[in-house]
């Protein structure tokens, strides 16, 4: 291995490096200076994000176990952006009395999950994939229980760890069957040797189920709402955007590479689960009052929409998925950012009815949330419209007209509930609405990035076209 080979792994190595820096900083600072860790972590993460975009060589390492292609680098960059925004948005929350003695742990755990995701995305065999997946989920469980004195937070932590253990078990069972029938864990060897023997189909079903838990596809979604509600808002936003995005990325890569021989089969499975996921996620979301639960169900139905891009297995579909995740990061983090800001300022108000008349008191936050919800619903001129449009194009391209019809009707259902918070903020009148408050600098920066992302990513066609040039397919 030559020295420049390490350049291929620069995302992971840099993240490990900043994790070590934060660890050392934590050891060598006293309580008074610990406040400096917040800006330090954010700045380090910003540097990593920017460095990630610099051009770099591509190739494979460790005999195909680690793969760095342009597309995978792009995926990592997208996740880095998401993580950076979450870092920025958490800054003011971490300043509070309850949290300020565990600031560096928060950043360390998030960075280690990010390392896991990056390795997972770059994986070229099932062992790496599995390790990356574990590294990406286990620390999140500790973070979900971050707010130790709240029962709900502890509940979220324990639920998440149990569910991820269960799903990992199912996934491993599937992987062991694949190894048993093929005799290799390397993706390139498996994809060639994979046939449609009963055991292999069984192994795929186990694999699919395991991944379905991670992406929270119906009927494996039941943990989502409780965990999202219980966990602190910033952890929830990370979980719903970055974690989910990473799982979707590797899932789509594996479907079109490892499982390409049984594409006809997984397409049928995806068709049905996508339709059910969209519809049920939407129907549940309509009934929620707690905004975190609301966004949890909305993220389930978004997962259904994202699957639309994968179903076709085409290059366009893959590009649409990657693009949509990028859009989704900005939109969902915008929504969560506003909810977090309001929750911190008002002492934990997270219900939709608390938002009555918010526009009168906090117009900027209301407009940001409205824009984010419109983007999630797919309404022009924000980026969500373009994202959904490309996903639908990918479905239509392969001639799944009925699925497309189900999907477009689901966008209308989703529009209904995305308008409910808008209605609360703008139209409903309240005796006592949340008083005006001034957000601190970090929150503002985080939200401005989100809004800029929502506007620019859609109109600037270069971004989509760039992803399109990288994309891969069956």
């Amino acid at each position: 291995m030559r020295l420049e080979d390490f350049l291929l792994m620069r995302h992971e190595l840099l993240l490990t490096l900043i994790a070590i820096i934060i660890l050392i900083a934590e050891i060598f600072t006293d309580d008074f200076k610990k406040q400096g860790i917040r800006p330090l972590s954010i700045i380090l993460m910003a540097i990593v994000t920017i460095v990630g975009f610099l051009p770099a060589p591509t190739g494979t390492l460790f005999g195909g176990m680690y793969q760095a292609t342009d597309m995978r680098l792009m995926m990592k960059n997208i996740l880095n952006i998401g993580a950076l925004i979450v870092f920025i948005q958490s800054a003011s929350w971490l300043k509070s009395d309850d949290n300020q003695n565990k600031v560096s742990e928060f950043f360390l755990l998030l960075i280690s999950t990010l390392i896991g995701m990056n390795f997972m995305i770059s994986s070229g065999d099932f062992l790496m994939f599995y390790l990356g997946l574990e590294l990406a989920t286990i620390p999140i469980a500790a973070l979900a229980a971050y707010d130790r004195y709240s029962n709900k937070s502890s509940e979220a932590g324990i639920k998440l760890i149990l569910i991820s253990a269960l799903s990992s078990g199912i996934l491993l069972y599937g992987i062991s069957m694949i190894y048993g029938t093929v005799g290799s864990v390397y993706f390139d060897k498996v994809s060639v040797a994979y046939g449609a023997t009963p055991l292999q189909i069984m192994s795929f079903i186990f694999f699919f189920t395991g991944m379905a838990f991670k992406i929270s596809i119906v009927p494996f979604h039941l943990w989502t709402a409780d965990v999202y509600e219980g966990a602190p808002v910033n952890v929830t936003s990370y979980l719903s955007v970055v974690s989910k995005g990473a799982a979707v990325f590797i899932f789509s890569i594996m479907l079109v590479t490892v499982f390409q021989n049984i594409a006809a089969m997984w397409k049928d499975v995806m068709w049905i689960t996508a339709a059910i996921t969209m519809t049920l996620g939407n129907l549940f979301a309509m009934r929620q009052n707690n905004l975190k639960r609301f966004l949890a169900f909305s993220s389930i139905s978004q997962a259904g929409f994202i699957m639309l891009g994968i179903i076709g297995g085409s290059e366009l579909g893959m590009a649409a998925v990657v693009y949509y995740i990028l859009v989704y990061i900005f939109s969902n983090l915008g929504a969560f950012g506003v909810i977090a800001a309001i929750s911190n300022a008002s002492g934990g108000k997270e219900n939709m009815s608390d938002y009555d008349g918010l526009y009168k008191t906090n117009p900027a936050l209301s407009l940001t949330l409205t824009l984010a919800l419109f983007s999630l619903a797919g309404i022009p001129p924000v980026a969500g419209f373009f994202g959904k449009f490309f996903l639908f194009t990918a479905v239509a391209e392969k001639g799944y007209w009925w699925l497309l019809t189900i999907a477009v009707l689901n966008t209308i259902i989703s529009l209904y509930y995305y308008l409910l918070p808008v209605k609360a903020m703008f139209i409903n009148k309240a005796e006592t609405s949340i008083a005006y408050f001034k957000s601190d600098g970090w929150t503002k920066v985080g939200l401005i990035i989100c809004v800029a992302g929502m506007v620019i990513v859609g109109f600037a066609s270069v971004i989509f076209e760039y992803i399109r040039t990288l994309s891969f397919g069956l």
Binding site: L316, I379, F389, L415, Y416, V422, F426, E465
Partner: protein, 499 residues
Amino acid sequence: MDFLSLFVIVPFLTVVGIVFCKDFKQVRLTAAIGMTIQLGLAVALIFMYLAERKAGNMAEMLFMADYVWFPSLNIRYAIGVDGISVAMIGLTAVVVITGILASWEVQHLSREFFISLILLATGVFGFFITIDLFSMFLFYELAVIPMYLLIGLWGTGPKEYSAMKLTLMLMGGSALLLVGIFGLYFNSNPDGGQLTFHILEISKVHIDPMAQRFFFPFTFVGFGVLGAMFPLHTWSPDGHSSAPTAVSMLHAGVLMKLGGYGCFRVAIFLMPDAAHELGWIFLILTTISVVYGAFGAIQQKDLKYINAYSSVSHCGLVLFAILMMNKTSMNGAILQMISHGLMTALFFALIGMIYGRTHTRLINEMGGLMKIIPFLGVVYVIAGLASLGLPGLSGFVAEMTIFIGSFQHTDTFHRVCTIVATSSIVITAVYILRVVGILLMGPIKNKEFENLGDAKWFERLSLGTLVVVIASIGLAPLWLSNMINDSLVPIIEKLTMNL
């Protein structure tokens, strides 16, 4: 910089200007100035268009511009106008400026109100100038979504319910439309070349009839929802009655026309085979719309409901005429869109002004208003007469053309439909005269109404503009119908080509 894009840029700049205004007077002034410029542009466009045509430029679309947006999918921002879009742009410009004048005294959150209103107008203008299905769809949704806030925030009555119902039904229509657009896109190049969203390029292709049969209903229903086609019209009475004055004007006057225009430009023009084959289903539905709307209007006691149902009837007539698919009836359909747009805007403006004075919209509680507020009363009578098709006003020209065109079909089915639809004229006369009788004539029912003031200057300006335009179209319709006729030629060719 091309001329047509100004129609999107000017409203956008107006919105930006409003954001920086200090108080409500500045806001409304900025809005009025911006939209007056827009009206000037529209008038200039009409003259430029006529001059081009006179100079012998017989291209299908004029002032075209084409910018590639997403090259890999061949999504473009393509614009261009023919006589029909020019007429619609003119209509929109008139209705928008009168709408702004009619809401001169909206003080509650005025900044947000005018921004939403102008955003809506931006969507409509964009829709009429674009000839690329993607941008068309984008502008369509852009025009619908501000409606939610406009009705929900500034409306009256059960406004939240109406706003939600209207938004969801219209967006539902757009969702179906999206399926239709994808159907057109993926069938736009059967030889395996580059696919396209460009309307003119698709119109050169003969789309596989099987695909047409599948996607025509999606497209037609998608636009038909906005055109208030029975049984998908139910958003219209609730929405219009809850909306504030200017919004009702814009919505009934312009936004509903998007439906008719889209059915015409996209559904029928691009999928003629299916239109011939499946048109009869929609013809029945639109005939029902025409008659049902008219009967619905007789039943109602609320002024806005009456006008909303009459809009269903009139817009049904637009779709009805489009489905007759000959040159005369289609010409009538476009004229009807313009005429109905103007007079319904006039109606809603009047109703808003009357309501602002009497604080009731129930016709039974009012009476003898002609003596108290003569200006509004006279204009109401003019609007009513235009609506029931009095010669000399625009309504007559439009309905006459439609029915002449419809009678050119000699088969029983079309004849029956035409005769049934024609009966709506009589019913229209009944409800219009009934309202005029109760509302304006007779003794003054409520003593409190005796010292109501008549129209103020901005109201007079708003109403006067509309009346002048209605009368001038009614008196000199030929230039307009010639302009439309020229543009109909390629469309009719396409319709008859594959028969």
